[in-house]
């Protein structure tokens, strides 16, 4: 393929990233800040893709630039997007500035000691990592090294990461969800100004109806083909979630909730983690260590390496399920302010 990177382009991107960060934090309109932050994330994607980290870039594009921006916007939809100008507090800001600068100088003092950028013999690149590159085919028959490390060598991290998404989902649910019956007495109802509803427009509805199947098809491809190309459970799950979020935005939440009730959504979120943990537990019952998919070769087709490959696919599906439904549930909670009726 191509050789990397044209350094001028990289340097330009890096400077742009810093600029975007500053702009995102200094803009007074919060909606604008969210958009600029999305652009910042896309810049970051380019930089990472330029350094060969395609899976990370893919995830950041889907998660950091896509879904995060949607989350911030649905929060702002229910609240206010403008910041009041406030004076004072300058001394405090300066003090923090000094502290942060000291921290920065302290970090910079370590730079000469770090291995140079791109050195293939640096400890990080020479100690553990080569094992993965040279053994992934023999061990798990997965040419995408990232997938095999993600779901097999360091599969425990990924189980926990899925758990983190699961926790975030049920945490947001517990924080925001309110009963409609209690609404009148308990929480002051926020008086929302009449807002623009994109679902009013026929063009938007038809266009998203046309795009959603393609998105889902692509997402399934990303999950299933994660062994051979960038992607996997996370990215695919996020895209699947995004396709339904698109439906929720272009029609309305009720349209989505008619197909996926609250109960179904929240139970599916848990089921993905359960699938992952159960696959690991099955390995223990077959006589191996936890998450040692090789032990599954008596129930999955193929020898140990193929059993690993299939085990990876199983857990990726678990990850995909949890991530997809978490993203939808988080969006619904944020957008409808926990009322599950209307919203962005």
């Amino acid at each position: 393929m191509s050789t990397l990177p044209i350094w001028q382009f990289d340097a330009l991107l890096l400077i742009m990233v810093v600029l975007f960060a500053v702009v995102a934090l200094s803009i007074r309109n919060l909606m604008g800040a969210a958009i600029v932050f999305g652009a910042y994330s896309f810049m970051m994607c380019l930089i990472w893709a330029g350094m060969g980290a395609v899976d990370v870039a893919f995830t950041e594009a889907a998660v950091g630039a896509g879904v995060s921006t949607v989350f911030v916007m649905s929060t702002l939809y229910n609240t206010g997007a403008t910041m009041h100008r406030r004076t004072g507090g300058l001394a405090f800001k300066l003090f923090i500035g000094v502290v942060v600068t000291v921290a920065g100088v302290f970090l910079l003092s370590a730079l000469p000691d770090l291995p140079a950028w791109g050195d293939p013999d640096s400890p990080v690149n020479a100690a553990v990592a080569p094992y993965y590159i040279t053994h992934t085919i023999a061990d798990a028959h997965v040419p995408n090294v990232v997938t095999s490390v993600l779901a097999d060598y360091r599969g425990f991290d990924t189980l926990l990461e899925t758990t983190v998404v699961f926790i975030a989902c049920i945490a947001i649910y517990s924080i925001l969800r309110v009963d409609k019956a209690k609404l009148e007495t308990d929480e002051p109802a926020v008086v929302a100004a009449p807002r623009y509803d994109p679902g009013d427009s026929l063009i938007v509805r038809q266009a998203s109806r046309f795009m959603v199947p393609f998105m889902q098809l692509f997402a399934l491809y990303v999950i299933a083909h994660g062994h051979y190309s960038p992607g996997g459970g996370f990215q695919g799950g996020v895209i699947l979630g995004a396709s339904l979020i698109l439906l929720a935005i272009s029609f309305d939440l009720k349209f989505l909730l008619r197909q996926w009730s609250e109960k179904t959504l929240m139970m599916l979120v848990a089921s993905g983690v359960f699938l992952y943990a159960a696959v690991g537990l099955a390995c223990v019952f077959m006589g191996g260590n936890y998450l040692d998919y090789g032990e599954l070769n008596s129930i999955l087709p193929g020898e140990r390496d193929m059993a690993r490959s299939h085990g990876i696919l199983l857990v990726e599906i678990g990850v995909g399920i949890t991530v997809m439904f978490s993203m939808i549930a988080i969006h619904i909670n944020l957008a409808s302010n926990g009322r599950f009726d209307r919203g962005l």
């Binding site: 094992y131 097999d152 359960f274 943990a277 936890y290 998450l291």
Partner: protein, 501 residues
């Protein structure tokens, strides 16, 4: 089957939580027993491992069977149960089990109608804390840290009202801590090339003087300090613990900060060797001053509080100072004291917050002025409370005395007299507060035993709460009596060999 025990410790609460999240939708009553069963399995495994470790040394477990490969070190994730963490594992899972039993009534009363995911989050928090304790991989530790942190934000936010802002502040500080930790891990990783704690600790001495390693060390410590609310980062803790529902605080206060202290100990003792601290005396004395300051400031603030929960939160802060200071004395009694105190303080804080929870359950609030006559209303609870306070002060047969004794011994040996003074001052302040509470609770009302005074009806907390509270208080004394056995069989083996005796 015993070789699978380390992973069982994590899987018990994890699967319990996931199943509880399922049953919350069709059999809500099942959630609590499921979580209790999960924690019970975890506690049994942890207890069994204490004996195994005492007999045959550290137990290592490789996830996915990915152990050491020739020339590469450990390629997978390792979890380790050794002399340093086995006691804490048993303490965390045991306290969590007792607390889960204890909080049932509190949750039904405080969070009626909203408790759908409470026990799932409760169990996930325990998963995270156990994971931080058991893991043998510095990146895996970060993930567990976030699991514990995210579930605790939600548990605090259950308190509503001001709890949301308290939880948000905790989120910002907690994430800052986690990010600093992760950045520190990056620096260590850049120099060592591996994430496995055993491998890193073997590589670090070979690298010699290295600024990147030092920066990594400082960043990791700052991260751990933000998580444990050590002195300059303590702002979030009192509000978070005071406004959280009592049921959440009963779990968070004893365990969350202690486990972060353990993480710091693990980094100091195992990842970087203790020589690293001995060879940087400037940092060492700075941290010792900070810990003394933390103890004194927290003690001072606890004197000014009128709310029992906030007061207890400031106790937690001052105890953090004990442990950080003890660890940074970097001599044998100091480190022993810190290690004992992590376990002892978890038990003491747990008993303290359980007693406070009983009081809140009956009185509805925890203002000091409302405690009038509480000794007559709830004699058993208050007996447990007094025992706990005695332990916190450091009265001999309780565990608080022994750990404090080690700490003072260590400080004296290192010649750090300001730390000794801070320790004694903090004990004094706690004694003052105890007597103040006794004064309010006992003397402010006319004594009912005297003829003619109105009788005060007994109104004890329900047995499901009272039994764990009393058990915990008795446990403090038992732990105190068993301290020397624990130190000789387990903790002394966790100390680095290079230490001066």
């Amino acid at each position: 089957m015993t070789e699978q025990l380390p992973i069982v410790i994590i899987l018990g609460p994890l699967l319990g939580a996931v199943l509880a999240a399922f049953t919350a939708w069709f059999r809500p009553k099942l959630s609590h027993p499921l979580v209790v069963v999960g924690l019970g399995i975890s506690f049994a495994a942890a207890l069994k491992l204490v004996f195994i470790v005492a007999d045959s040394g550290a137990q290592k477990y490789w996830l996915g069977g990915w152990g050491t490969k020739q020339g590469h070190g450990v390629v997978g994730i390792q979890i380790t149960v050794d002399h340093l963490n086995t006691l804490l594992l048993a303490a965390v899972s045991g306290i969590a089990l007792l607390t889960a039993q204890y909080t049932k009534r509190l949750v039904d009363a405080e969070l009626a109608g909203r408790q759908r995911y409470f026990y799932a989050l409760f169990s996930l928090l325990v998963t995270g804390l156990l994971g931080i304790t058991i893991t043998g991989d510095i990146f895996n530790l970060y993930v567990f840290m976030e699991i514990a942190a995210l579930s605790s934000y939600a548990l605090i936010a259950y308190g509503r009202g001001r709890a949301y802002m308290a939880s948000f502040n905790y989120l910002i500080m907690g994430t800052m801590g986690a990010c600093l930790y992760l950045l520190g891990v990056g620096f260590v990783f850049a120099k060592a090339g591996t994430l496995n704690i055993d491998d890193v600790s073997a590589i670090i001495p070979e690298l010699g003087q290295s600024q990147a390693l030092f920066v990594g060390f400082v960043l990791i410590l700052l991260g751990a300090w933000a998580k444990m609310a050590f002195f300059p980062f303590h702002g979030w803790l009192p509000n978070a613990y005071a406004y959280a529902p009592t049921a959440s605080t009963a779990l968070l206060a004893p365990l969350a900060t202690k486990v972060s202290v353990y993480a710091m100990l693990r980094i100091m003792v195992t990842v970087y060797s203790i020589d690293y601290i001995i060879h940087s005396p400037a940092t060492q004395s700075l941290v010792l001053y900070l810990s003394s300051l933390a103890i004194v400031a927290a003690s001072f603030f606890s004197l000014t509080q009128t709310n029992l929960k906030k007061l207890a939160a400031y106790f937690v802060l001052s105890e953090i100072g004990y442990m950080v200071g003890g660890a940074w004395l970097a001599n044998k009694p100091g480190l022993t004291g810190a290690m004992v105190h992590v376990v002892a303080d978890a038990a003491m804080t747990s008993a303290l917050f359980m007693a406070i929870g009983c009081i809140v359950y009956r009185l509805g609030q925890a203002q000091l002025d409302d405690l009038k006559g509480v000794f007559f209303k709830m004699p058993v609870t208050m007996a447990a409370f007094v025992v706990t306070m005695a332990a916190l002060i450091g009265v001999p047969p309780t565990c608080g005395f022994f750990s404090k004794w080690y700490l003072i011994q260590g400080a004296a040996q290192a010649g750090v007299w300001h730390f000794v003074a801070a320790l004694l001052l903090s004990s004094l302040v706690k004694a003052i507060i105890l007597f103040r509470i006794i004064e309010i609770g006992y003397n402010r009302v006319p004594h009912p035993a005297i003829e003619g005074n109105p009788a005060i009806p007994r109104n004890e907390a329900p047995l499901s709460m009272l039994i764990p509270t009393v058990a915990m208080a008795l446990g403090l004394i038992a732990l105190g009596l068993g301290t020397s056995t624990l130190v000789n069989t387990i903790i002394s083996k966790a100390l680095p060999a290079a230490l001066t005796p």
